[in-house]
């Protein structure tokens, strides 16, 4: 640091010795609080706030029973998204990576979920069932793993072949799977599944991980998100239901999902692991924001780009301080 710069730095650090003006900090605070309170009141009275009712399994089964039914079969077959997710729910998938760092996998299984048991078999077993469903449940429970797998995978494939249209599935040896799916769909339609999935045999429960994952395996939640313009690929992270502002402060986080390679999920290794890369990138950028005073180049931007001339225009005019010469 040159002697001149050092002297300037020293003066900038020292208490201000120049002209001062009256300043009532308490009055300023009270007036600001009044203004913000009034502004908030006005917006609340005239605009209200969003509150789109939550989705239910009852609503899902009522609006698209075939999709619910097909999803139940996928849970039994282990072909749903949650069944193959990996950590922190199960070890069926390796999860995402940051190059050589497999943080998701290394963190391990902290919320064990067995999609077939947690989403289908256990809820069916929690309630008295019609004779055919009870018999199917009994058959499933006593069957060998290889048989369960064959029945469910074959039936899942048969459903896929007819695009999930349950009434159009070709007959075959699917064991108890169709009856189990029918029984779970009936439970969902009656509304019983919503309560059972939450309680999981207990009374107090505040963890909705299982319901959320089950919802995400089908098309119901996804369709609702698309209809509300909330999908991540279309800046949905910043949006809110209805005509309300959302989390606009997440614009930069959302931005990365709109551009290559992050939006190239199919054919680029970074795109395929975009969630991990973008979170890491935002972590680094947040650290960068905090450390701006120490980053050469960035910290001198406000000195090079003279927006400060507008902020302190009055002071510069009064004191007769001219502009810097461009180098």
């Amino acid at each position: 640091m040159s002697a001149d710069k050092s002297a300037i730095h020293s003066k900038e650090s020292a208490p201000w010795q120049g002209k001062v003006r009256r300043y009532d900090i308490v009055k300023e605070g009270v007036i600001a609080l009044l203004i913000v309170s009034l502004l908030t009141l006005t917006l609340s009275i005239f605009m209200g706030s969003p509150d789109e009712p939550s989705l239910t399994f009852k609503g899902w089964a009522a609006s698209n029973s075939d999709n619910f039914y097909t999803t139940a079969v996928q849970e039994l077959a282990g072909t749903s998204e949650s069944a193959g997710y990996g950590a922190p729910y199960n070890d069926a998938g390796v999860g995402l990576n940051l190059g050589p760092l497999w943080l998701q996998k290394w963190a391990g299984i902290h919320h064990p979920i067995n999609s077939a048991n947690d989403f289908v078999i256990t809820p069916l077993g929690e309630q008295q069932q019609p004779a055919d469903v009870a018999a199917a449940l009994s058959t499933w429970r006593s069957a060998a793993v290889v048989d369960k797998q064959k029945w469910a995978v074959d039936y899942d494939a048969a459903l896929s072949a007819v695009e999930g249209k349950v009434s159009a599935v070709e007959s075959g040896d699917y064991g108890p799977v169709p009856t189990l799916a029918k029984g779970l769909t009936a439970m969902a339609t009656s509304g019983a599944l919503d309560g059972l999935l939450l309680s999981q045999g207990g009374f107090f429960q505040t963890d909705h991980t299982k319901q959320i994952l089950f919802f995400g395996d089908g098309a119901y939640l996804d369709d609702a998100g698309t209809a509300a313009n909330l999908q991540g690929g279309t800046w949905g992270m910043m949006n809110e239901t209805g005509r309300y502002p959302g989390q606009a402060w997440l614009w930069l986080y959302s931005f990365w999902y709109q551009i290559p390679p992050f939006n190239n999920e199919e054919s680029h290794p970074i795109g395929a692991n975009a969630d991990a890369y973008i979170l890491a990138l935002m972590g680094v950028m947040s650290l960068g924001l905090v450390m701006i005073p120490f980053i050469p180049g960035v910290r001198s931007l406000p000195i090079r780009i003279p927006l400060h001339r507008a902020i302190w225009r009055q002071y510069y005019q009064t004191e007769g301080i001219g502009k810097r010469k461009k180098k």
Partner: protein
Amino acid sequence: MMSTKLETQKPDMWTARLRQSWQKNLPIEKLLPDTQPAYVASWIYVFGVLTLSALAVIIASGVVLAFEGPSWYHISDAGRFVNSLHFWSVQLFFFFMVVHLWGKFWMAAWRGKRQATWITGSIAFVVSIATAFTGYLTQTNFDSQWIAFEAKDGFNSVGIGAWFTVTNLGQMLLMHVAFLPLVLGLITVIHVLQVRRKGVVPPIDAFDQTLKGVNK
């Protein structure tokens, strides 16, 4: 007189040292000033106190919501109104804070050993985002279902999801009403004390004598 004597006799006392340091660095005249440097004369300076005011409205409306529980506003007109106050004060808070942050960036407000002021302010911004995010997760409506489903993949992908479970309403609610507000409140207090202690940063080039009277 005895206590003054004790202070001088026992400068190694933690309490005495803390008091002496506080009195030296942040006397009441700095904490509650009645004058400001003449250069503090721009609308941009208003956004700091507006941000604090919005935070006060957020806390007040949030306390009412906390007393009634997270589902109250679904079934009560009064609850819906308080929820609206909370919602809009958050929107205003972020607007004011972002303008304040940009203003301080273009002032290079970290000059003159004010780095800690910038650091605490920008940490407060990041913590505010986390606090608002957990608020969106505890709305107990479709939006929170959707956000929980989408956001879990991001946190799971780097291993954080194993402990910070966005699909766990109980955990998110406690984060939103207890842990994160505590952190944000603490950082905000430190930030404001730093501003009062160091004073408002002087204009860029205020002490550069070579520019005095140059091409005005």
